[in-house]
Amino acid sequence: MSGYFSDLYHGTKSLLVGLGVTFREMVKPTVTVHYPRETLTITPNYRGHIELVCDEKTGGSLCITCGMCARACPSACISIQSEKPEGSKKKILTGFVLDFTRCSLCGICVESCPTDAIAYSQEYNLAGFSREEFHMDLLDRLGKGGSLT
């Protein structure tokens, strides 16, 4: 019998306090963002998929086709094609494909690039209907919207 009435008193009191808390929260403005119409600003630290960096001077890529990134990638998702034009000393990049379905976003490729030719994008709207949509041709994207400087 001991505690019967004090249980009743304290129980009722705490229930009423709880109701008060939720009521106060209810009349406060909402804190969520109406996503497709409103978006939050993304922090510069956001690490999306990698993207080739656009060279401001030439408008092309900074990549020297050394292949370090492809070798460093633990998931082997980068494949690079290059060719050496007649009479030129340097190879030029002709294909840079990222298989994003396997990328673990570890960032080792970005770390290992000697010329800082790749960087993280800010893209987070990543949804698609087929696997092939995520075999991204980064060279193709360079200079079109997705490129970084």
Partner: protein
């Protein structure tokens, strides 16, 4: 219209049936929307927002989706009982509308035993839950159903006792007489505050809503007794739940909160329904508010609350009332 073909009684029946169905569906549409909106705002988010202005059409669209879905019957389920259970859950919660006193003229039939009729119908609901849980051949369903039976037995007693203490004063089970007694005197929530509180708590448990939603405890029993139901079978349980909320709130309004009485309006005999509905929806708002405030009680706490607190207090209240009425 030539009423010679229609015996007025038949016409009344038709109008009543239409009225009841309309109220049931509109109430459910509105309440689901209100519940989701209030839940949203309590959690500082907007709730449904995309379909129509501020999501106002969301429940309509959901309803259409539910109706077009397939009713899957699990293998090894008792097919007949499985099909019957949703109807069994839905019919008894519609019946009490027949005796609810919306206003002086808006009352379909004023039975002498109106209150008893409502309570009888309300207790049929637990049958439906048991049948649903039993026939779906699913352990979660069965657990939910069993809990529901235990809970409803425990909570029907305080409901009865608290309503009885009002009946002792009015000397009648007729809903109209009970409301009339409050119009000429004080509202019974002032004369019988304890009975009122006990009724509210027990009614919350009777509707199987949080914090007393043991039969469908999502986190423990997936969905409890309606785990296996899909499409409109589930839809009927859902309709039943919201209609049940409406019924218990209406009974509370009629018995404790003065029914249709309020500030005088023109055409009082009809427009009193506005006051009635206003009070009902205030009570329903409180029920939603409670649901989104408290966590679910444990089963032993549930039983303790009823047997150790509600029933003794209700009994005490009844005895005191009886003695005072006798004096």
């Amino acid at each position: 219209m030539d009423t010679a073909f229609f015996p007025p009684e038949l016409l009344r029946m038709l109008i009543a049936a239409l009225f009841v169905v309309t109220v049931v569906f509109v109430n459910a549409l509105f309440m689901v929307y209100a519940e989701r909106k209030i839940a949203g705002h309590i959690q500082r988010r907007p709730g449904p927002y995309e379909v129509g202005w501020h999501g106002i059409l969301q429940t309509l669209v959901d309803g259409i989706k539910l109706m077009t879905k397939e009713l899957v019957i699990p293998r090894d389920a008792n097919r007949m009982l499985f099909r019957v259970a949703p109807l069994l859950a839905f019919t008894p919660v519609v019946m009490p509308f027949l005796v609810l006193p919306f206003s002086e003229n808006l009352i379909i039939i004023d039975l002498d035993i109106g209150l008893i009729f409502i309570l009888t119908m309300a207790s049929l609901n637990v049958m439906a839950i048991l049948v649903a849980g039993w026939s779906s051949n699913n352990k979660y369903g069965l657990f939910g159903a069993m809990r529901s039976v235990a809970q409803n037995i425990a909570y029907e007693i305080p409901i009865l006792l608290s309503l009885l203490s009002v009946v002792l004063i009015t000397n009648s089970f007729s809903m109209r007489t009970i409301v009339d007694a409050q119009i000429s005197g004080l509202w019974f929530c002032l004369i019988q505050p304890l009975a009122f509180i006990i009724y509210l708590v027990a009614a919350l448990a009777e509707t199987n809503r949080a914090p007393f939603d043991m039969p469908e405890a999502e986190s423990e029993l997936t969905a409890g007794f309606h785990t296996e139901y899909s499409g409109m079978g589930f839809g009927l349980f859902f309709l039943g739940e919201y209609t049940n909320m409406f019924i218990v709130s209406s009974v509370a309004v009629a018995v404790f909160l003065g029914g249709w009485s309020g500030l005088p309006l023109p055409m009082d005999a009809w427009t009193g329904a506005i006051w009635f509905l206003l009070k009902v929806y205030i009570l329903m708002f409180i029920m939603i508010w409670i649901r989104w405030t408290y966590p679910r009680v444990r089963f032993d706490q549930l039983m303790n609350l009823s047997w150790k607190y509600l029933i003794p207090f209700a009994l005490l209240n009844l005895i005191v009332t009886a003695v005072i009425v006798k004096l």
